[in-house]
């Protein structure tokens, strides 16, 4: 009799463990992915041109704004957040464009920051080696008040 009761208790424990594992799995699947970079790419540029850019979309699922302040990579001597601005002077020749270094680019809470040609981007200055299409570059993106994010971006002609 006692033996039967023990077996039933063991079975109950197994079911409880299974249920707990299932709940944990469901929670893990339902949880939003942490801060990440979608559609990442580093623009291919011919040597000896020393500068290029990282593009993509930074997605921030957290409750607080995150500020991209820079990055480190073995492929460049420095990385800085930049934005491209167009100034319409009224000239028939069209607007004047300039790239402006900024202290930080903000990824809004529960939002995204697009890094795209002609807009906000992360500039890679002083390339340490010629870029080859298709190779993957690893970068550690630095954020103010948040842990660095390691991303891998293929070199693309785009």
């Amino acid at each position: 009799m006692r033996h039967r009761r023990t077996t039933a208790a063991a079975r109950g424990l197994v079911w409880l463990a299974a249920l707990t594992a299932l709940m944990a799995l469901t929670a893990a699947l339902a949880a939003p992915p942490p801060l990440h970079l979608e559609d990442a790419c580093v623009r291919w540029i011919p040597a000896p041109v020393p500068n290029t850019s990282l593009y993509g979309a930074l997605v921030n699922p957290t409750d607080q704004d995150l500020h991209l302040v820079g990055a480190t990579t073995s492929m460049a001597t420095s990385c800085m957040p930049m934005t491209t601005r167009k100034q319409d002077t009224g000239s028939p020749s069209g607007p004047i464009v300039s790239m402006v270094p900024v202290d930080a680019l903000t990824v809004p809470a529960h939002g995204r920051l697009k890094l795209e040609p002609g807009g906000d981007h992360l500039m890679l200055m002083g390339l340490t080696a010629p870029l080859s299409e298709g190779t993957v570059i690893e970068l550690s993106l630095r954020f103010e008040g948040a842990a660095p994010l390691t991303v891998r971006a293929p070199v693309l002609r785009k």
């Binding site: 623009r43 540029i45 040597a47 500068n51 491209t84 100034q87 300039s98 040609p117 002609g118 500039m123």
Partner: protein, 222 residues
């Protein structure tokens, strides 16, 4: 008893006679209107460029700049459509974007037209952009492209002609600076007349239409 009337046919002919020219006139008018409608349907519509053509196209003054293979004169391209873009190779964003778009447009042209459209990038950063650097850069986007540079004075004179502005910004060292500059594309027709100006947004939004514009400029010149 009334007399039989036998003059009625004569009367009806007399009434019909003056109506005949009227019907002929109406018929002729209908034919003319129908012909006009058909002509309007089949005639080619006037071509509309993506960029409004300049109302006062003036012939660009000839200039000489340097390429890796020697001096290049603007007049070397006479008889071809010429696309001029002013930029610099250290630019990591706008310049390579527009060069790639120009390569896409140029590459989409039929081969016979491609040879008749010259694309040249002119450096606004002659201190860093040597003829060799410009050649490497331009050819990386298309082997057919021309990379041109020159002395600061020569570049300045060419830029002035096209109302192109440029200046150094954010200089942190002798070799560390950016350029702010006009980033439009200037299109000269085969008679070297400045005809169209495209902005960067035009290149991004409607490259197919720009390719058609270039082909139309060539057809108009033939």
């Amino acid at each position: 008893m009334p007399e039989p009337v036998d003059s009625e046919p004569v009367d009806s002919a007399a009434v019909a006679a003056p109506r005949r020219p009227l019907w002929i006139l109406v018929g002729a008018l209908l034919v003319v209107v129908a012909a006009l409608v058909v002509w309007d349907m089949v005639r080619p519509a006037p071509y509309t460029y993506l960029s409004e053509p300049l109302s006062n196209p003036t012939v660009a003054t000839d200039f000489t700049l340097q390429s890796a293979s020697g001096p290049v004169h603007l007049s070397d391209f006479d008889g071809r459509v010429v696309m001029l873009f002013f930029g610099y190779t250290h630019c990591p964003d706008v310049c390579p974007t527009e060069m790639m778009q120009l390569a896409q447009i140029h590459g989409s042209l039929p081969a016979k037209d491609r040879d008749r459209v010259a694309v040249a990038m002119i450096s606004v950063d002659p201190e860093r952009d040597t003829p060799e650097v410009m050649a490497t850069y331009a050819h990386a986007f298309s082997p057919a492209f021309h990379g041109l540079t020159g002395s600061p004075d020569a570049i300045g004179a060419v830029a002035k002609q096209f109302f192109v502005s440029y200046q150094k910004t954010d200089q942190t060292g002798p070799d560390a600076y950016f350029m702010r500059h006009t980033a439009s594309v200037y299109v000269l027709d085969p008679q070297r007349r400045l005809t169209l100006i495209y902005g960067g947004d035009d290149l991004a939004n409607d490259p197919e239409r720009i390719a058609r514009d270039l082909q139309h400029l060539l057809v108009t010149a033939d």
